[in-house]
């Protein structure tokens, strides 16, 4: 009976810093890219094929941002022609459980959300 007694005793406040980090790391493409890279390291064009809806530009931007935040590593392999492999870092790995939880939540609650949307849209006319 610990959850009804008080609202939220030690809940951390959302700051601009929090928001900014979560925005950079959990935006639509980042989520997708991290999800793929958690499974296995991939090359640039492999990622493109794994996420067919992303454009080259957006994928590049996403990877650079994730690299800057320490979530993925960029490894240049000196073959002919050049190959670039993207690999999740230990820090990036710490997001895996969260991403899985988000996907599970989404899967589990999608029907309820869709019913809510239908109800809302019906009332609007």
């Amino acid at each position: 009976m610990k959850e009804t007694a008080h609202p939220a005793p030690d809940r951390p406040q959302i700051t601009a810093t929090h928001r900014e980090l979560l925005d950079q790391v959990l935006d639509k493409w980042s989520l997708h890219v991290l999800d793929e890279l958690c499974e296995r390291s991939l090359r640039f064009n492999e990622l493109r094929r794994a996420i067919p809806v992303v454009t080259q530009k957006s994928l590049t931007a996403t990877l650079r941002r994730l690299e800057r935040n320490g979530m993925v590593e960029r490894l240049i392999v000196n073959t002919r022609p050049i190959a670039v492999e993207y690999r999740i870092t230990p820090l990036g790995k710490t997001l895996q459980d969260l991403i899985d939880a988000l996907l599970e939540w989404s899967t589990a609650n999608m029907p309820r959300v869709e019913r809510a949307r239908a109800r809302f849209d019906a009332e609007e006319g």
Copy 2:
């Protein structure tokens, strides 16, 4: 030794539907609003004061979206003048643990992220 054996056996794929839902529900303002409403129900201007950086327009849009997706309820109290109370729904409540987990992750890993950024920015010149 179950986590090194195979990459990801039953990992759910991210679909456009997943992404869209998470985008609508975990964007910057939604996260903030849900976080506040998980603690207690609030009126419109109370929310504005609780989240001082949000504009009225964005707050309205965020609340409508959350309402449409079944995350919050909008209760019109017929006082003089009118009062509108926003309350989290049971469906919205299912996000609380996730949001807490996101905030905890963000708090815990912020230092590592900042070091990664500093390293990245230094290398760029």
